[in-house]
């Protein structure tokens, strides 16, 4: 036997032995992620991917794979690929539109797990998870209502689904608490990622006289428009969404909301790893769990440029009496961090914008009601497109 053959033999025995030690000693978990937008969108998908990276760094046993920019009609095919070719143990589908395909995939692969983000359908091996920002929209509404000069406030919206209606209504409830005269106008762009559409919608809102804009779509386009107008001398207030967008509009962004998916993903993956996944698994994290964070960047909850204006704006509050908008925002934020039972924006009496009583006085909307909400509250103009 030649020398090199012996060497090869020793090496391969050593390698096989080594690899069996590694695989035997540690249980591995492979997670696939299906994203609706590009990971660099600086919005929804960007935030999810930060969360995924957080979990991957935290757990040495975790391996992840992503597929980005998956159209909602394509998700079934992509899920199949993740399960069959990539051998994923669990697949996360991070968009409302993937709901039906995720449920069907659960029936197709009963020995695998699926987690669907923002939906309401569950089964034995399909769970749901979500981190919602509606509380932050309420706080944005307080600030928008206090700052507006025209009493017209705008909102650029992607698609008419419960998540957005919930944001719009919370924003409107905040506005109403700060300034009952102000009205909220909504424009739909029918795109999660469409900087050109968001831009034109924002310009149209400004042309109609709206001077404080919030949005739910995945680009900083609305903030760029606000910044451009602010530079030209017309103060437009904007509220950042999902990622830290304040750098795009230092003269325009008042505040906003940040989403931290890291904790949520870590919790779910840890539960799965420790076999704690049960039928109808559901996780919904809000401000209390530090999933929803107030602010246009990681540093300040409110842009220092607008703090003085907010301290000067006085609001008549039932609970606190006469209070500055700044103090009210800080107080409400603290209450939200303590939990929904301490303060909930959706506390009755709440009427829809046609005058029907939807939530009785003193009652709080249940999370189930909020997850399927499909009416505008009082203060929002127009009606939800069909």
């Amino acid at each position: 036997m030649k020398k090199w053959m012996i060497l090869v033999l020793i090496c391969s025995i050593f390698f096989i032995g080594f690899s069996t030690i590694v695989f035997a000693s540690e249980k591995k978990l492979k997670a696939g992620f299906v994203y609706v937008g590009p990971v660099g969108d600086y919005g929804f998908t960007h935030a999810h991917d930060l969360g995924r990276k957080f979990a991957e760094e935290k757990f040495p046993w975790l391996e992840t794979i992503i597929v980005e920019s998956v159209g909602e009609a394509d998700s079934a095919r992509i899920i199949d690929r993740l399960i069959q070719q990539q051998k994923c143990d669990v697949v996360f589908t991070a968009s409302f539109g993937y709901m039906e395909d995720t449920i069907k995939a659960g029936a197709r692969y009963p020995d695998k797990l699926f987690m669907h983000c923002s939906g309401f359908k569950r089964s034995a091996n399909v769970g749901t998870y979500f981190g919602d920002l509606y509380q932050m929209y309420y706080l944005n509404g307080l600030m928008a209502g206090a700052l507006t000069k025209t009493n017209k406030i705008g909102y650029v919206a992607a698609f008419p689904i419960p998540e957005l209606i919930r944001h719009i209504n919370a924003y409107a409830l905040g506005i109403k608490a700060a300034n009952p005269k102000a009205k909220l106008n909504v424009k739909w762009i029918y795109a999660w990622y469409g900087p050109d559409k968001a831009k034109e919608a924002a310009e149209a809102l400004i042309a109609e006289g709206n001077d404080a804009l919030a949005f739910t779509e995945d680009t900083p386009a609305v903030i760029e428009v606000g910044q451009r107008h602010a530079e030209k001398g017309k103060q437009i207030y904007t509220f950042s969404h999902y990622s830290a967008m304040q750098p795009y509009g230092e003269d325009s962004v008042v505040s906003g909301q940040l989403m931290n998916w890291g904790g949520i993903y870590a919790k779910i993956l840890e539960d799965i790893y420790n076999d704690k996944f049960t039928k109808d698994y559901d996780i919904l994290w809000l401000a209390k769990e530090k999933a929803a964070i107030l602010g246009g960047n990681e540093k300040d909850i409110i842009n220092p440029k607008f703090v003085d204006d907010l301290k000067a704006a006085m609001i008549e509050s039932k609970e606190f009496g006469k209070i500055s908008a700044y103090d009210l925002v800080v107080k409400r934020y603290e209450q939200m961090k303590q939990g929904r039972d301490v303060f909930e924006p959706y506390t009755g009496p709440i009427y829809d914008n046609k005058g029907n009583l939807k939530i009785k006085a003193g009652e709080k909307a249940t999370m189930g009601e909020l997850l399927s909400i499909m009416y505008y509250v009082d203060g929002v103009e127009g009606s939800i497109p069909q």
Binding site: G37, P38, V39, G40, D41, Y42, T45, H46, S69, N185, K187, W188, I189, Y190, Y193, P195, D196, K199, E200, A201, E203, A204, L205, I206, A207, E208, G209, T219, P220, A221, E224, Y248, E381, G382, P385
Partner: protein, 306 residues
């Protein structure tokens, strides 16, 4: 109300700029008798190249030049197949669109969603920008707006008032007669297709580095097809293309204003095509000669054949 009108017209100018650029290019190209359905693809290539070059070098004008160069080179594919090989121009143009959309998506993958921090300042024309109404609408726009208007007017002058323009037009009308006059028809056709490609790429560059300041696959969103429809709508005249393009830019902008009235955005995005069909129908019914379409449009020219 006044604010709404001024702002709408101002935004219409911005939204119409890429349409005008692409339409002007397509007019020159079709006037020489070559139908180029590859506008959408060339536009996408222009957009992605302009974005990548601007992002890496920090110079937007370098990005614009690179986009034009790539657009011209890219459209040579169509020129070669349709002029030298005399292949079916519809097929070749469609292939160019698919190739351009696919290739741009592939090249731009690492750049998706990255915002461009470089700003192109608006060119505010002194004195003129102080004119009430018009000043805000016409004289304080981004650089691409002025470039588009200038190029459209220059193209009109080129086609209608210069020797080269006559050669281009007569190539599209009757290449055989043109050739007997000692004009190199193939050269003229190649030139027109390449110029058209440069225009389309410039339109794409406007979209990615000035209008949305970001790149995403498929961001041209059918604007190339609207440009082809507009070429017919403008009856192959760059002068008419100016107001036609801004009219359709206005339609894009106005859909957000009409939303509260319950008008479907899908219906509004159909409007450019409906309008094109209508104008074709009306003119054909009334006086087909006025249609002014190049007689040999999309007909391959074979030297020495009858």
């Amino acid at each position: 109300m006044e604010d709404i009108i001024i702002s709408t017209l101002q935004r219409a100018m911005v939204a119409g700029t890429p349409l005008l650029l692409a339409t002007t290019g397509e007019v020159i190209c079709e006037r020489s008798g070559i139908l180029n359905l590859g506008v959408e693809g060339v536009m996408a290539m222009g957009a992605v190249v302009a974005f990548i070059v601007t992002m890496t070098t920090g110079h937007p004008w370098l990005g614009v030049l690179a986009a034009i160069a790539v657009g011209m080179a890219f459209s040579i594919i169509h020129a070669f197949t349709s002029i030298t090989l005399q292949a079916n121009q519809v097929v070749s143009g469609l292939a160019l669109t698919m190739l351009g959309l696919g290739l741009s998506g592939m090249l731009g993958k690492p750049y998706v969603g990255k915002p461009l921090s470089i700003k192109m300042e608006d060119w505010v024309i002194p004195y003129f920008s102080d004119i009430p109404y018009l000043g805000k609408i016409l004289f304080s726009q981004g650089p691409f707006f002025y470039i588009a208007i200038f190029l459209a007017m220059a193209s009109w002058f080129l086609l209608e008032r210069t020797r080269l323009g006559i050669q281009i037009r007569s190539t599209g009308e009757n290449p055989k007669a043109t050739e007997t006059q000692g004009v190199n028809v193939f050269k003229i056709k190649y030139l027109s297709v390449i110029i058209g490609g440069g225009f389309s790429a410039l339109a794409g560059a406007h979209l990615s580095i000035s209008y949305s300041k970001s790149w995403i696959e498929g961001m041209t969103a059918g604007r190339g097809w609207i440009a082809i429809a507009l070429t017919i709508f403008a009856l192959w005249n760059p002068g008419r293309a100016i107001w036609a393009a801004f009219l359709f830019g206005g339609i894009f902008v106005v859909q957000y204003l009409l939303q509260p009235l319950g008008i479907s955005p899908n219906f509004l995005s159909m409007l450019p095509y409906i309008a094109t069909l209508l104008i074709l129908l009306l003119i054909s019914l009334k006086d087909p000669k006025k249609l002014n379409a190049p007689a040999m449009l999309a007909e391959p020219y074979k030297r020495g054949e009858r």
